[in-house]
Symmetry: C2
Subunit: 717 residues, 2 copies
């Protein structure tokens, strides 16, 4: 087991430095919470201005404490924190939690002070949570430590939760209590100067007290490490996350808040997906999902049965089930027969099962029994709207007893659309670990998130493929560009890089004169495409620099004249054109990469042209891609049916598309100097050998401009 953070979470003794006698002050409330929560060890208040706080002897400095101290909670004014840390170091403290604010979150001056703290703790080998945080807690009875200033006493449970927002911490503890959700540990990470979310994930990976991890994130400190750790954890236990800053304005709010450059949301989305972290949109959804995971088994599939005693809610549940992505189960014949025989005559026996308002405990017993026995059902949502004529306690009993009878691991979520019944039912249901939701939509969403987790666990891990390529050749071209301080690699050189990585290109010949044009035409077969070959033009189509589908010699010659007229003027010498074999009968795709400052290289795939530009029908994955990722990035665009054969058009060769993406992923691995590229279009046809890149453009990382050439080229080598 990972013990790296035991100094923080498993202390034998705690000093509260900046403890206060003033009720309501943070320094008093933390001390109070430690005592109130009956921390299983010694607590030492530290404050030079007091001799006793909360009935406990108080010390002037931590150095005066006669016993060893494992953990120090620091609530002193900002400018004292550094020297306090020095004292902690001298005292031999293992971990510190710095509640005090006024560091990186307020700007440059604070950031400088924060670095000083880090320097001290590194020097003494201590670990630190914060600064600018809400505290930590560990409900394990062996420690029973509530070192937060929360007004809410947490319930012990199996959820580990990390919040990047201190204020949200209070709201989280409060809300969790109201729905009876218990925590193993809670950490408000604050500015993450030392201990990061990633450290916590690693710490919780094999923690037997933590079966579910919840995250509230505003940014990723080290996305590559996050991916690695999360990928491994999510095979064992679910991680559910809210990532704030989904929209552009939200992301801007973050950067003014924490001073961290926020990444594109598409990067966050890709990271979560590729490491099996279940992202949810809102904090209440986070808790709906947590209730389901903590109390119920994960469904083996997505086929859901709904039981109701009222039509309306049954329809709402059906809508919700289908619209989140689940399926309504199609019952076995015997199930319907059994229901028909044993429910009231006008009950509905297809899914959703409607036992009708008059159907009391016995009907629920029958319905629950039937759907739990049905092989086509993976999970169950039980709705109960208490009618005036039915005793709701008896119905709840019947539901609970019948579920208990079936030990077959199907999850069941309750939906009681009435406050009275909810309150009456919740205790009993909670005892039997059946979560209750007020509306069917919440239940369906929670079920869906469990299914997503199951799918992730069933998904092949995938592997990074390595192709036999000509790295040297690409290196020569890129080195040359760096030496020439050329940011863009276009035209023939760009296509040469592709060739080096084993990607086929449409045959093309550079020509400047009509005579060369004639020669070129002989080497190609019609139809051909004519393109302007000017390194200063990056969007050729926009300026009329591409003429396609030229079918005869005379059409080609006319096109050449047009190009010469268009681009040969204004004192510029005519830079020539490229005559290219036209690739017919394929589908245009785009394969690209963008090196995101927060997430590193993001690979992109989409259908070419208008699909990308107008419909924004593209998908992203974080580099490097496994073979499975390459499959998924293709499948996840909306226009995917265009690739699998559509209205008489032949299906294209998906394998070559996948291979091309993986070869480009390898290129990205080999050359960190690449800032972005577009292979656009890559035309994929039904034949691998006929699928070809037609144009490409590589951009070199700007930063290399400032280093000296030998440095830059060395990085390429």
């Amino acid at each position: 087991m990972n013990t790296s953070l035991d100094g923080i979470f498993r202390p034998k003794s705690i000093a509260v430095i900046g403890a206060s006698t003033k009720k309501g002050a943070i320094g008093r409330e933390i001390l109070h919470n430690l005592i109130e929560g009956e921390f299983n060890g010694k607590v030492f208040p530290v404050n030079p201005k007091a001799t006793v706080i909360h009935s406990i002897k108080c010390y002037s400095t931590i150095l005066d404490v006669p016993d060893a101290v494992d953990l120090a909670i620091i609530i002193t004014p900002r400018d004292h924190v550094k020297s306090i840390l020095e004292q902690c170091g001298e005292k031999g403290v293992k971990g510190v939690v710095v509640i005090t604010a006024g560091f990186k979150e307020i700007g440059e001056e604070g950031a400088k002070k924060e670095l000083e703290l880090v320097e001290v703790i590194k020097r003494y080998g201590m670990r630190m949570v914060g600064p600018n945080c809400f505290g930590v807690l560990n409900t394990d009875p062996e420690y029973s430590m509530n070192a937060t200033f929360s007004k809410t006493m947490p319930i012990p449970g199996m959820v580990g939760i990390m919040s990047q927002s201190g204020a949200l911490g209070e709201a989280i503890l409060d809300y969790a209590n109201s729905i009876n959700l218990g925590f193993s540990m809670f950490v408000s990470v604050g500015n993450k100067a030392d201990i990061s979310g990633n450290d916590l994930l690693a710490y919780w990976e094999d923690d037997p007290n933590t079966s579910l991890i919840l995250l509230y994130l505003e940014n990723f400190g080290d996305p590559r490490r996050f991916t690695k750790i999360a990928r491994s954890i999510t095979r064992k236990k679910p991680i559910v996350a809210v990532k704030a800053g989904r929209t552009a304005a939200g992301a801007a709010a973050i950067s003014s808040h924490t001073g961290v450059l926020a990444g594109l949301d598409v990067g966050a989305e890709a990271i979560f997906e590729q490491c099996g972290v279940l992202r949810v949109a809102t904090v209440d959804e986070l808790f709906d999902v947590a209730l389901a995971f903590i109390n119920q088994p994960v469904p083996k599939g997505d086929r859901i049965a709904v039981i109701t005693n009222a039509g309306g809610p049954g329809i709402l549940a059906t809508d919700a089930v289908e619209s989140v992505g689940l399926k309504m189960a199609k019952f076995e014949k015997k199930t319907e027969e059994y229901l028909r025989k044993n429910l009231l005559p006008i009950a509905a026996v297809k899914n959703p099962v409607d036992v009708i308002a008059a159907g009391g405990p016995e009907s629920y017993r029958v319905a629950v029994d039937a759907v739990f026995s049905d092989k086509n059902v993976d999970g169950v949502i039980v709705i109960f709207v208490p009618p005036v004529v039915v005793d709701h306690r008896a119905v709840i009993n019947a539901i609970v007893e019948t579920i208990e009878k079936h030990k077959n691991d199907k999850p069941v979520l309750g939906c009681f659309m009435s406050e009275a019944a909810e309150i009456a039912g919740s205790e009993q249901m909670a005892k039997h670990k059946i979560p209750i939701y007020t509306f069917p939509e919440s239940a369906a969403r929670a079920m869906w998130t469990m299914v997503r987790h199951q799918r992730w666990r069933d998904r092949p891990e995938g592997k990074i493929v390595e192709y036999n390529i000509d790295k040297k050749k690409a290196q020569r071209i890129i080195t040359k560009a760096i030496k020439a301080k050329k940011e863009n690699i276009l035209g023939e050189e760009a296509l040469d890089i592709l060739e080096a990585y084993g990607i086929k290109m449409a045959k093309s010949i550079k020509v400047k004169t009509p005579k060369e044009l004639k020669e070129a035409a002989k080497k190609l077969s019609f139809p051909v495409v004519l393109k302007i070959d000017d390194p200063t033009i990056s969007h050729k189509t926009d300026v009329g620099g591409v003429i396609t589908d030229l079918r005869t010699q005379s059409e080609l010659e006319d096109a050449f004249k047009t190009m010469k007229k268009r681009f040969g003027r204004k004192g510029k010498s005519f830079s020539g054109v490229i005559v290219q074999q036209m690739v017919r009968g394929g589908v245009e795709t785009i394969i690209g990469m963008h090196d995101d400052p927060s997430f590193g290289p993001l690979m992109m795939f989409g259908l070419g042209g208008i699909y990308v530009e107008v419909m924004k029908d593209v998908s992203f994955k974080v580099h490097p891609l496994t073979d499975y990722d390459a499959e998924e990035i293709i499948k996840s665009v909306k226009g995917y049916p265009l690739l699998t054969g559509f209205r008489g058009y032949p299906a294209v060769n998906i394998k070559i598309l996948q291979e091309t993406i993986l070869r480009l992923s390898q290129l990205v691995t080999d050359f960190p100097v690449l800032k972005s590229f577009d292979v656009n279009p890559f035309i994929v046809t039904s034949e691998a050998s006929q699928s070809k890149a037609v144009d490409a453009r590589f951009v070199i990382e700007l930063v290399w401009k400032d280093v000296n050439l030998s440095q830059a080229t060395r990085i390429v080598e």
Copy 2:
């Protein structure tokens, strides 16, 4: 004022027929609710087996009641209901509410019995709610009538609510109470045998006690009447609706439930949009929105300010604001200056304003004051996460007082992310009519729905345009098809219908022989298109029946040979081809119509080909379209940028597209016999005169097959 339903909602005396002495029985609970609610009139229990119920003298039949009776509530066994209604008629009762179930909802036999009830009430001129319903209530103190069997006593208020699900009725009353939302009237309409949702809408249109209408719908009885009534109401007061059966499975659940053929959801969506009804996805959203409308003014625009004392929730709110469709307000310079001067030094003064945790009542006063004074702010969301060091009562006071000071009609929604503060705050906030939500997402959604309402009220009403067309010509073609019992009108005939309605077509010539082909080519200019002309083929492209972009005589001749080979075999005589002028440089669109059994004709617009088939990028409107609808149907497809000029392509003539849609809408008005059509593609270019239909297909309503020909053609005339 509409008084048509006063017999139901404004009675002076009520008979409860089937009243019961048994606690828990519906017949007892309704009587109890009338008494408990202190109905402002006389109540007469009717039951032949009792002499007194709930301390009130009981009568054997309604005919024995000595006084006049306005309203009868009927809870007797199903097979007695008809004779009870006869007695009510004799007695001179004005309205009846039939609670009893077992009618249309259980199948054919019940439906027959339901028709018998309708016959009786029509004969006596009575009005009826139900059967199979939960009852009605009117909280107006002049009546104070709770004629439901709800366990919850409703709070009086300004919301009129109609539920098509009885069971949901209980849940609705219960949930509304829990959030302190009051009703003017509540109606569970049951099977809607007589009184429909539309009748209620009409009744509430000018009801001064009802300022907001909420609907829970499972189907539309008469969508055309709904559209007309709702369009008029929504200019005066908002209507918010949950329509169940959004997904295919949900819709299937409805039809087994109420035996009504459910419409496509796209029809419901279009109807709501075109008559300004605000659709929301879930029942809890319905209430979130109701709280906002009932308590706050509607915002004049979509620019929202967020005030918070904690970074995390501020980011969540920003995300929520932007992702629902609102905008984060950009403050005036003076606002930021004022905030910078008067808030704590490290507060964030851009939107979202973060007064930080240490910012107490004074900071909230400053922030609320500033954003309410800012001209760039249309609505405000105030978040408050109570920190331990701040007295939350004082903060709530400061917020409320500052808002009171500004009488400038900007809506404000609260978000208190803590249960304790919520409870403490809610009373005070409720007094000042400020709704409080637990999570920022709910507040943002409610605000957005108010903005949608405002936009609808600002939207021009639009008008139906009439063009000068040749109806007779279209009539001849359609009559001929009906006489020939031909369901499909294709090819030349289809294009002739378009021509009759003033829609330009690509010039085309029918040819059968190589000689004719030569003649035809002379009349057209290259490039041309060749299409198979076989009335038995409806998807020509799928079978290789279209060859485009033929540029020379020899290409045309080759194509003709290919066609002849492809379609002239298998004993069939070659039916010939159409040579058509190719329309160049335009955008392919599709304009279609589908006559939906529930909603009537739905007009569709989309970008042609792959956009329709794969991307499903189309939009629908309910026929008939106003000029404004025609504008909107075009703008609402995702590919719209392709029409307004995209990467160097010229913008197309949107006006001609709009006109074509309106001409086709007129065609639908003129010929109800049309079941569907596709004008596909209609190629729109930058020139109106060059924008042309290339192909079309009309389908005649199948039902006309069964009537005799003169009848059918008469309908066409």
